[in-house]
């Protein structure tokens, strides 16, 4: 009995000390971790939007079980410069891919950014982050473009040997385009 208590006691003491230490480190880093995520999202939005002076708080829209964040951007005189749409897909080869798509008020795409944290294969699927691929999504009409990869009969050239990753990105944008069309009134009305 005394022996078991000794075993339980020593393991408990170690776990308590470890827990306290982790609580301290978590407290010291959590703010910065949240700030890093925030900075990255804002930087991606600024990168894909047309020239603007301020980005407003996001408008949340749910369509086909997906949640989209529309961030309206404005110029100094208050005119709408465009939207940055934050979207997520789980259809990537390595699971989740988070993206930021910029659109002008007339529904033309102005840029695409892939947010860090995706798990696509380096050298193949990870090429979705390269400019050459992202450029294929620029200057296209959100409503009238056939948002599918060439292999599925669409208008977007997929990356060779990375069809799954290319398709995940393209299909996510197609879904976002449908969401924008359906909820256009809400998104524009709330501005």
């Amino acid at each position: 009995m005394k022996h078991s208590l000794q075993l339980i006691g020593s393991l408990t003491v170690i776990c308590v000390i470890s827990g306290a230490l982790l609580a301290f480190v978590y407290g010291a880093t959590s703010e910065r971790i949240a700030a890093v995520a925030q900075i990255r999202t804002e930087a991606a939005a600024a990168q894909v939007l047309p020239p603007h002076d301020a980005v407003q708080d996001p408008i949340e829209v749910t369509h086909e079980n997906h949640t989209y964040l529309f961030r309206p951007a404005r110029t100094a005189d208050g005119a709408l410069a465009g939207f940055a749409i934050q979207l997520t897909t789980h259809a990537g080869y390595g699971g989740e891919i988070r993206m930021m798509l910029g659109i002008a008020p007339d529904g033309t795409t102005t840029g695409l950014a892939i947010l860090p944290g995706h798990k696509e294969t380096p050298g193949l699927g990870a090429k979705i982050t390269e400019t050459a691929f992202r450029k294929r999504f620029e200057d296209k009409s959100l409503a009238s473009t056939n948002w599918q990869v060439r292999k599925d009969g669409g208008a977007i050239d997929e990356i060779t040997a990375a069809t799954i990753s290319s398709r995940a990105v393209t299909d996510a944008i197609a879904a976002a385009a449908r969401a924008f069309e359906t909820h256009r009134a809400t998104i524009m009305g709330m501005e």
Binding site: Q6, L22, P116
Partner: protein, 225 residues
């Protein structure tokens, strides 16, 4: 004494190239030199801290619960590294992804705790952890550099520092992918064994045989012993 403990981790008992331990992170994160260095340094820090703590409490831990105690100590330091990296080097943290939490089950770290830190003085255990960590980092860096140069045509030491870009249009992408990891590791292991044999022959000592994967000690097929 200290120097011998330190240097054995780098060459004679190099965890990757001699003991062939920790293969999961070794093969998975060495797609570039930067990732390899990041993983090596993170593991070194964990190894150093866990060796120091385990060695200093080795007389307080009852024999029967020593493994759970070691794992709790190691997991604590790994979580600290994970949080600190997420806060201060987020890009590297993203690149290493799942392999940071998996340092907990890296057999090099538990192996050193069990084989060395639980039976030696604290100072000596710290030196051992440092040596093993440096050996692990060097091996990963060698593997990462080879794979990045051949497989991607670039060599990046750290984001922000100037990077080397080879004038090639189509690098051998295979080397970046999983099979390339095995191929490159095999070549490095062969080179390491060849070097040890050459060194032994020159100094007139007996040629050290690889611990496993040798026809004379393997019993997998009918030609084995």
């Amino acid at each position: 004494m200290f120097w011998k403990t330190f240097s054995k981790g780098i060459w004679k008992e190099n965890p990757v190239l001699k003991l062939v331990l920790g293969m999961c992170p070794t093969l998975a994160v060495t797609t570039s030199l930067e990732n390899a260095l990041g993983m090596g340094l993170a593991s070194t820090f964990v190894l150093l801290c866990s060796n120091a703590v385990i060695s200093s409490i080795r007389n307080l831990i009852p024999e029967k619960v020593r493994i759970p105690c070691f794992i709790v100590v190691i997991a604590t330091f790994v979580t600290i590294v994970d949080l600190v990296m997420a806060a201060f080097v987020p890009d590297l943290h993203d690149a290493l992804g799942i392999f940071i939490p998996l340092i907990v089950v890296n057999c090099i770290i538990l192996g050193r705790a069990e084989a060395f830190a639980s039976r030696h003085r604290t100072m000596l255990s710290i030196v051992d952890g440092l040596g093993m960590g440096v050996g692990f980092t060097l091996a990963l860096a060698a593997l990462g550099a080879c794979r990045e140069i051949i497989g991607n045509g670039t060599l990046t030491i750290w984001a922000g520092l100037p990077r080397l870009v080879l004038p090639t249009e189509s690098p051998a992408t295979l080397l970046i992918l999983a099979p390339g990891g095995f191929i490159m590791l095999g070549l490095l292991l062969a080179g390491m064994n060849h070097l040890s044999a050459w060194q032994a022959r020159r100094t007139g000592k007996a040629i050290p045989l690889p611990a496993t994967m040798d026809c004379r000690t393997c019993t997998l097929c009918k030609w084995g012993s």
